[in-house]
Amino acid sequence: MIRVDNLLKKYGDFTAVDNISFHVAPGEIFAFLGPNGAGKTTTIKMLTTLLHPTGGTITIDGLDPMRHSNEVRKRFGIVFQDPSLDGDMTAAENMEIHGVFYHVPRKVRLERTESLLKLFELWEKRNEQVKVFSGGMKRRLEIARGLLHTPKILFLDEPTLGLDPQTRNQLWTHVKHLNQTEGVTVFLTTHYMDEADRVAQRIAIIDHGKIVAQGTPQELKQQTGKDSLEDAFLSLTGSTIRDEAATSADQMRQMAKMWGNRR
């Protein structure tokens, strides 16, 4: 469903994604894990047509995201890591815009909007502008919106960041359900190793733009000789905190953008 070969993304001298290759089978739940600034979001952006790779190839359901952007966009849904709601619109209007974008028939859209907003406990607030929502509510709305249409591939970029355990549980139950009943392929990133362990069938660990390990959660644990995925993760990526790396990566992107280097 997703094939990535020797994918490369450079911002000037800085290499954000360094020659990575992996593939995700149809109907698989695949977790893409890594410390901050490792290149997860950059990779997702390239997979979802938002960013042009410097090198390598990507195939989504047999199509190249650069050449057949619109066809590729029809095939996936995404919950972004950072906010992507329209604060001036109400929750219901955000759902409406999304539904129209993804050609969800009106009747289905209204039904699903109701059930999803109820599931994530936003139904009472559906006619309020999103800018008055709390962080958690916004996050829940992002997720509800991402689930409004049923795509072939669902990208979840740290969807549970800042969510309470109840909502996280709802989300993963729903995602697993979609995966089992509709065969939706799921590509997710998260910092919660227990989630990845519970939900994902296969995992790739990325660090400094390179994939350092790939396999089932079981394989990763065996490979490192640890009991938990968290320990396996730490032994693969080291225990240094990566906030520095994240900022400098961000700065590089910022710089690259500022100088109009949009490639």
Binding site: R73, I97, F101
Partner: protein
């Protein structure tokens, strides 16, 4: 319901919800109308050019459409800042349609704004020469709105952050306004200024609107209309090209 419609509707909803902004954006045209209209009125009269409020009102209406449409078009910058842009960019909708929806929405908002200013002008003493030419006036208002909304969207696609806003304001929007003949007659201008005014697309919008409202025209209906249509089309094409190249 199509993506173009829903994006158009979004711009309108946003406009209706920003009541404070609507009030604020009527302030500036009102100031121009009163300070210039009545301030320069006596001089204008003495120079044998007639009533200045009559002359300047179409210019002020054009100005409000220009400002409103460029800013709404540049609303793209806010979408980028607050993240909604990503939602539109990954949607399976041709980017031309997204750009068109936004542009038409911005143009509609700008025309409404222009109509509000027209009412303010009317209250301040402006009178139409002929009620029957109002549809033509409306046509020119729509064209000005579309042209500059498309320009705004094009600029919004290139600029990466809101800091660029002031730059656009000082080096693009203000010159477009001041060099358009909105405030002064285009006859007997010094050669260089005369040339520059003819390169400014707003000149033809103001001229068309002025001819529809008070029957004074420099270039004539056909010239005004063709220039506006052609430039609008060019900006739409350039804008959608730039918009489709956005990466985030």
């Amino acid at each position: 319901m199509s993506a173009i419609y829903v994006l158009w509707l979004r711009e309108l909803r946003r406009y209706v919800r920003s009541r404070a902004q609507i009030a604020a954006s009527l302030g500036q045209p009102l100031l121009y109308l009163i300070a210039l209209g009545f301030g320069l009125g006596p001089v204008f009269q003495k120079a044998g050019q007639g009533n200045y409020v009559q002359f300047v009102a179409p210019g002020i209406i054009s100005m409000s459409i220009l400002f409103s449409s460029i800013f709404s078009g540049m609303g793209l910058l806010w979408d980028r800042q607050f993240g909604f842009l990503k939602e539109t960019l990954v949607a399976p909708v041709p980017r031309f349609q997204i750009m068109l929806g936004k542009t038409l929405g911005a143009a509609t908002v700008a025309v409404i704004q222009g109509l509000l200013v027209a009412i303010v002008c009317f209250i301040a003493g402006f009178r139409f020469a002929d009620w029957r030419t109002i549809p033509i006036a409306l046509l020119f208002m729509i064209l000005i709105g579309c042209l500059f909304s498309a320009l705004g969207t094009a600029i919004g696609s290139i600029l990466q952050n809101i800091q660029g806003f002031q730059l656009v304001m000082n080096f693009l929007v203000m010159p477009i306004f001041f060099l358009s003949g909105a405030l002064y007659p285009l006859s007997n201008l010094p050669g260089a200024l005369s040339l520059v005014t003819r390169l400014d697309p707003l000149t033809y919008g103001v001229d068309g609107l002025r001819s529809a409202l008070i029957g004074i025209s420099t270039f004539g209906f056909v010239a005004d209309l063709s220039v506006l249509l052609a430039v609008t089309l060019i900006f739409l094409l350039v804008g959608s090209r730039l918009f489709s190249k956005i990466q985030v």
